[in-house]
Amino acid sequence: MTHPTPAQTGITPGETAEQHAHFEARIARGEKIEAGDWMPAEYRRQLIRMISQHAHSEVVGMLPEGEWITRAPSLRRKTILMAKVQDEAGHGQYLYHAAETLGATREDMLQALLSGKAKYSSIFNYPTHSWADVGMIGWLVDGAAIKNQTMLAGCSYGPYSRAMVRICSEETFHHKQGKEMIVAYAQGTPQQRAMAQDALNRWWWPAMMMLGPHDADSPNSGVLTRWGIKLKSNDEVRQEFINEHVPELLEAGLTIPDPDLHQDEHGNWRHGPIHWDEFWAVIRGEQGLNKERLGARQAAHDDGAWVRDALQAYTDRQRAVAAD
């Protein structure tokens, strides 16, 4: 006979029903759980997993767009893109901080990313083929991320929720600059229109998939929902994303690459079947640029070693001087 695991019940051996009842009552009252409060070990474990993955996604997310900084078509576009990529670095920092409040260390998390043990959003394993991809990523990928992050801003863990509030206010800029760029190209020369359409053809489905598997296939949702970490299901968040973006993309004169897309009687836009085989293949690193992304991350880490060494030498020297 098999026993249910903590991941299923949320209860780890040694924890009492009273502790759980008290904890869940706090969440039901809308209280935020702070770092020093009692929490189920499974709550801590799930949060560290989620937050560190989220942090890694922000950090790896710099790579596909960062490649285009030197090739931006104008100084204005270049400064915007630099600011966006810099923001993503900052988002990674906010999130690593949130995970640290739960006892995870920066070094362990970085190590898990570089060794390939930790996951990050598979959306960043897709290549960026043209400049219009930068705009489309801002509009669709940051747009999808905002839907997810707005939900997480209401989550029960204080430090994660606060990081999300801060991130969302900055993501709105990422979304707007992308939308502005694509709308301009969609109304531009035939070449520009073709470039925008091509970018939409390649990014539409990955953006849909980045909001996660269908609810029926989402293994972690039970305790995450019960403990107020996930306030909406993947399908609900995806529906919000589609409802906002479909009319705007159509208005821009673009064609969404989904022949089954239609509005139901409530006005909700309904999408056709999603090809999850591709999603899982990218997650497993069999398809896409997983190796290249981690290689670039590792190279950045190695290339920065001399800076860390110099800072350490300075710190040691200051201490030695202070001790004299």
């Binding site: 409040t101 006892g103 606060r162 609900e236 009319p247 909700n268 710190t315």
Partner: protein
């Protein structure tokens, strides 16, 4: 501060809590943390991470080891926090007041004279009995940006001039959401409210 429950490696730089002041006469607020080897490194990193947008006139950084935080729940199970030792002197007190959505953890609300960290926490608890968390740290542990106008200008003005980082810079692109809704192209309510 709460003890990590996972083994921590000792090679990472110490963590510094960052406090940001948005305008003169506003409280410093805890915004998050950075890792740094020395005070200048901490302040510079804090600016890069937490002040990429306008609205800052001052930053403070305090080493994690010098900070004592507690929630009411924590104090019911761990009275020993009130006996945490420390140097006698001036302590800053920060409090968290609401569960509302926020970007910041605690607001600094003033200072007390205390015989140590635990004593400062005890006083904070008496002064602010109905809050959601307390934080105390000694004045001697604070490293801060200079308050002279030149420093404030050179540290914080560049972020202010980069208006393209603000969403308002882009205005309304295409038709307004309300218009799309009235045209029936977007559902009037959020999808998550349907069928509830």
């Amino acid at each position: 501060m709460t003890q990590p429950q996972y083994p921590s490696s000792d090679t990472q730089w110490p963590r510094w809590e960052v406090f940001k002041q948005d305008a003169p006469n506003r409280p410093h607020q805890a915004v998050g943390s950075v890792h740094a080897g020395d005070p200048q490194h901490a302040l510079l990193t804090a600016r890069n991470v937490f002040v990429r947008r306008p609205a800052a006139v001052s930053l403070w950084c305090v080493r994690e080891d010098d900070i004592l935080t507690a929630t009411p729940e924590e104090l019911t199970t761990n009275f020993a926090l009130l006996d945490t030792p420390g140097e006698a002197g001036t302590y800053h007190v920060g409090v968290k007041r609401t569960n509302k959505r926020s970007m910041t953890f605690v607001d600094l609300s003033g200072t007390v004279q205390a015989s140590g960290s635990g004593d400062a926490l005890r006083q904070a608890q008496v002064m602010h009995p109905d809050v959601l968390a307390w934080m105390v740290f000694p004045e001697t542990a604070v490293v801060r940006t200079d308050e002279d106008p030149g420093t404030v200008e050179s540290w914080f003005a560049p972020a202010k001039d980069k208006t393209y980082k603000q969403q308002q810079h882009y205005g309304v692109i295409g038709r307004h959401v309300g218009e799309l809704k009235r045209a029936g192209l977007m559902p009037g309510r959020a999808a998550s409210e349907e069928g509830a």
